[in-house]
Every structure is written in C-alpha cells, then in structure tokens.
Subunit: 366 residues, 2 copies
Amino acid sequence: MGNFKILCKDSSSAARAGLLTTTHGKVETPAFMPVGTAGAVKGITPEQLKETGASIILANTYHLLLRPGIETIEKLGGLGRFMGWNKPILTDSGGYQVFSLSPLIKIDDEGIEFASHVDGAKVYLNAEIATDIQNRLGVDIIMCLDQCTAFGAGDSEVKKAVERTIRWAKRAKNAHTNPDQLLFGIVQGGIDPQMRTHCALELVKTGFDGYAIGGLSVGEGHENMIKTVKHTVQYLPQDKPHYLMGVGTPADIIAAVMAGIDMFDCVLPTRNGRNAFAFTQNGPVRLRNNAHINNSVPIEAGCDCYCCRNFSRGTLRHFFNCGEMLGPILVTIHNLTFYQRFMAKIRQKLKEGQFSNWAKEFTIDN
Amino acid sequence: MGNFKILCKDSSSAARAGLLTTTHGKVETPAFMPVGTAGAVKGITPEQLKETGASIILANTYHLLLRPGIETIEKLGGLGRFMGWNKPILTDSGGYQVFSLSPLIKIDDEGIEFASHVDGAKVYLNAEIATDIQNRLGVDIIMCLDQCTAFGAGDSEVKKAVERTIRWAKRAKNAHTNPDQLLFGIVQGGIDPQMRTHCALELVKTGFDGYAIGGLSVGEGHENMIKTVKHTVQYLPQDKPHYLMGVGTPADIIAAVMAGIDMFDCVLPTRNGRNAFAFTQNGPVRLRNNAHINNSVPIEAGCDCYCCRNFSRGTLRHFFNCGEMLGPILVTIHNLTFYQRFMAKIRQKLKEGQFSNWAKEFTIDN
C-alpha cells in the first residue's frame, strides 16, 4: 500500500501527481521512462541519461533473455549493475515483444513458444518463467506476462487474449518471489470497452502493486487510444500507479495524464533522436534539412541540455550529413531532456493547481 | 620563441618534457592528440574527451573543406565553437588526406587538384589556400601543405615531393596571416636519410614555430620509422616542438619520445575502440571474445575511466554483440584515457629522471 502516494489531484480531470517508492529510489509521477531495450538506452551513457533528469528506465525481458541470457546478467550482478544504472528499472514481461518481433511458433493457455528474432532459436515463455526471469534480473518493477492483440483483431481473438492475460496474471502473482520488486498487472482488451472493463476488474480482484494498460499504440490512433484509457482507468484502484505502455507523443502524454495515467515509456525521443528529429516546444526540428547548414542557433533556445549549450543546428546537421555518431548521441540527449522537462512541467502544473488550464493551451505539434 | 618551453631533458636519450603555450591553452608534452577528423572525435562528446585528459586534438582541413565547407565553419564561429571544444586544436593541412583518400587529378609545383572522396567534386589546394583555410578555422596550430610519398616510392619521386614540400612551406609561411596561430613545417623524404636531412635543413632556414615529421607510418615498419625519426630530429631546432604525424602504438610512442618527439596523433585508440579492441597495460583485450561473456572484471583493473568504473567486460561484449552504440562509445573512452594516462606517465618519468629506465622495461604489447 505504501509504495505509491498521491501528492495532489487535478480538480477538473483525473490527473494526479504522485510519488512511487521502489528499492532503488523514488520516482515522481507522472513519469517518463526512457527505453533501454537490451540493457542500454541507445546512444548515451547512464551518466548522460541521469543528466537528462530520468529517474527510472525500462528494459525488455524478451531481448535480455535472448542476449546475453539471464544467467549471464545474474553472474554480472543483476541488471542494474550490468548496465551501469543504479536507479529504478522496470522490465516489460516480453509479451509485447513476442507479439511484435518474433515469428510465433505456438501460443496456448499454457504459454508461448517463439523463434528468436536474432537466430531463430526456439524459446519458451509462460507466466511463471517470465516472472522468474524478472525476479532474477533484480529490477524494481516487473510486469505480468500478457497476450497482446493487433489492432483490428476479431472479438473472439481479443476475448481469448484477455482471458489468458487474466489467468497468466494470477499465475504470475503466485510465482512472484522477490519482495524487493513491485508486480504490475497489464490490462488488455483492444479498444473494446467491455473487454477492458472485464480485464481490469479481474486483475483488480487478483490484486497488484500497479496496473498497466497494454495493447494500445498499435495503430488504433490517438482518439481510440485516449477513449480506451479513460474508460479503463475508471476500473483501476485510484491509489495504485497507472502505467500506459509504449506511449507516446507529448500530445498523447498530456491527454493520458488527464485520463489518470502516472507512468509512460516510449522509444520516440531516442529513435527519433537517432534519425535527426528533435523535439521542441515549438514543434519538431529536422536536422538533416539544408536550411540548417549555417544555422548558429541551438535546437531549442533556453534548453539547458549539453547539446543545446554547446552545439548549433549547423553543427548537428553536419554530423548527420557525415554519419558522425555524435549527431545521434547529441539529439538523443536533447530529446530525452525535452521529455523529462515536459514531465517535470506537468508535475509542477499539477502541484500548482494549474494543470488543466495549461494542458488546454498545450498545442505543441510534436 | 616563447611558445615552447623545455622543462627537463632525459640524460640518456633525446627525450624531453615541455610546455607548449597556444591561444586556447597550454599543452604538456610529450602530448597525444586524439583525432577529430571531421569536427568530432568519433563516438564521444567533447565533455567526455576532456575527462580522458586530452588537452589538444587534431582535425583535418581536407575533411572540413569538403564538408561542411570553411565558410560554414566561419559563420558558426570557427572550428572550436563549431565542434564544442574550447581547448587547443591542431589542423593538418590536407596533404596527407589527399594522398591517402582522394583520386588525385593533378599535382604540380603550383598545387593539387583532387576529386572529393565524398561526391567526386573537383577541389583545388595549394600552399596559400591550405594556409588561408586554416587561418580562417581559428585553430591554434596549423600545418604547411606538404606532399607525402608512399612507402617504396622511387628516389626521383621522393626528391620531387621534398622539393615541393620545401617550396610550399615557404609559400605557406608567407601566406600565414593569423598571429594567434603557430605554423609548423612538415619534413618529408620517405626513409631516405639524405632527403630527410635536406628537407629539415631547408625548413629550418625558412623558420617555423614547430616541426613535424610526416610521411611515416605508411608501411615502412617500426624500425625504419624510428631510424628515420632519430635521424631527422638531429636536424631540427631543439627549442621547438617536434611532432611525429599519425603515430602510433604505445611502443612506437615510447621509441619516438626517446628520439626527441613531443607530439603525436593517431586514430588507433578511437578506431580500435569502435572495433572492440581495448588497450591495457597488459596488452590488448578483444571484447568480442566469447571468453568475456560472464567476465565481471572491467577492461583494466585500477583504471579510473567511466567505462572501467561502471562496466564489466561481460557487459561490453554484450553491447558489441547486439550492435549497441554504447560499446564503441565506452571502449573509445577507455582507450583515450589509457593513451592520456600513458603520456602522463611518460611526462612524470621524465620529470623524475626515471624515463630511460622505465622505457627499457616497457614491454607492453599493444
């Protein structure tokens, strides 16, 4: 009960600011988790990552299971030590990655057999194995194995996935043995309100330290996504953290915070950064553009990140033009700093009681 | 005269420790300059570069002329500001890069016409243009345009290149207009002692702020190289800095310091770092090796670099195995730190009067 404390609530939306306490530190919410898929947030050191303001990151059970394998990470001191990050880590269970990356061999009520996207090797995951792996990784927050469905999946397919997700969540809870870790359930159900309600209520019966909404941001669009989030959050305990998986743009995040979401993860700031796409308060800046050749201004005036303090858009364009690694590195630093500053602004506005007014005027086109 | 001060000399070799004063700061010698070819030391930020102990870096006129072009760098505040590095910079003149990278179109006594290795565009360089470009880049040390010959070039070819190098050096000196910059001449002459003597004496007649030995490390081997360096240094003013271009391994550097060299540049620590090859006091560590899968020790015990303080060989192997950028980044940080620590040790031993004894026992196999 004591892991999550709500510090204040918005008067005209479901938004709230909170504090989540984990074994490796506290996380102010709403929080954005940069994605460190295979044990590294691509392109930057954990030291640079801390400077962006990140207090918690996400890593992927699926990727780490394939490479380097869980035993290796255990032998090297657990995931935090392995990746040089001594703050909180959340691991996804692998359900989404199996859905999105792997040639699936077989899925049934018992578990999932899939082929590694790296070398085709057969790998097996079920609720107990996914939980055991995450227990052994020594991270702070772990996720139940779930079954994700594609956007447009038929009712019976969605229903089957929801029932499995509910059963697997119970099994995950029974299998969970590491008292230093919080275990979150994942609500599935596509964009079907009844399925979402059913899944949420069943997970709540089982009881988790936090609740994630999965299976969104898979092609349903902003409106469907936010509608589904708003609907689902009503059926979740308000005193537990709510995590919207794989989301999203700044506009997505604002709308989801208004719907009562506390935690986010997304590859956008890092992936876009590597592709010369920079986020700013005034919309995106595409740094390969020839218009920047002689441009002496930083990506974003007033930004205090290392990139903006030291490099012009002209230099960044040059780095991308020449294939210098420093281009992706610097724009990743900027984008993650932008995201963390954005989350800090949301928390500040919530604490000042100004969130809804501010959010309404938020027209950033990123 | 006052730019270079010799602090102490070794009693049993030509080695010396010195202090070179430039517009953007002081450089303790013997010094190693990391290579920032196109305005970036590949893979790391200038901030990380400073932490390795680097006090001066090298950039290439040739690359910067092609991309982004000199006018752009001028508009963006000069090379130091452009690349986010506020300490000393030395630029090579472009002679070596034209020799090694470009389909040469035409070379005569007047200058060099070459095809850009990027897009094939015709580019022209002569002594005056190369000097003017470097004047405009606003760096601390600039080099005369020279003509480099391949190892194995015939006597007449070497002689022709030496005569051009001598004439171009005079023209460079006449063209040099930026009083904030030191101008170095480059001794050519392959491994022919007479040619080296002739080139050195003629350059000394013209008079430069420092003298480089170019055209080595092009296939002649360690013995020929060191023999040529020892021979050439005798004909250079002892009160001016001596710079051996493009060298080298730790063993090369030790031998060259004993021969009286004060400055070095080389891509080895950065290029090898990107290829999972780490330098250590006990010889190279190849981090792709499966032997490191579960290896919890850092690259080098006792190394205080960010990589060794935070990452095991097992993690580094994993990063290279997965193609994570963090592998090249971290090993580059380590290798550059190793090189700077190595140079600091050389300077310390010189100051303690222990250099020759220490150098004799130096059996590092890197």
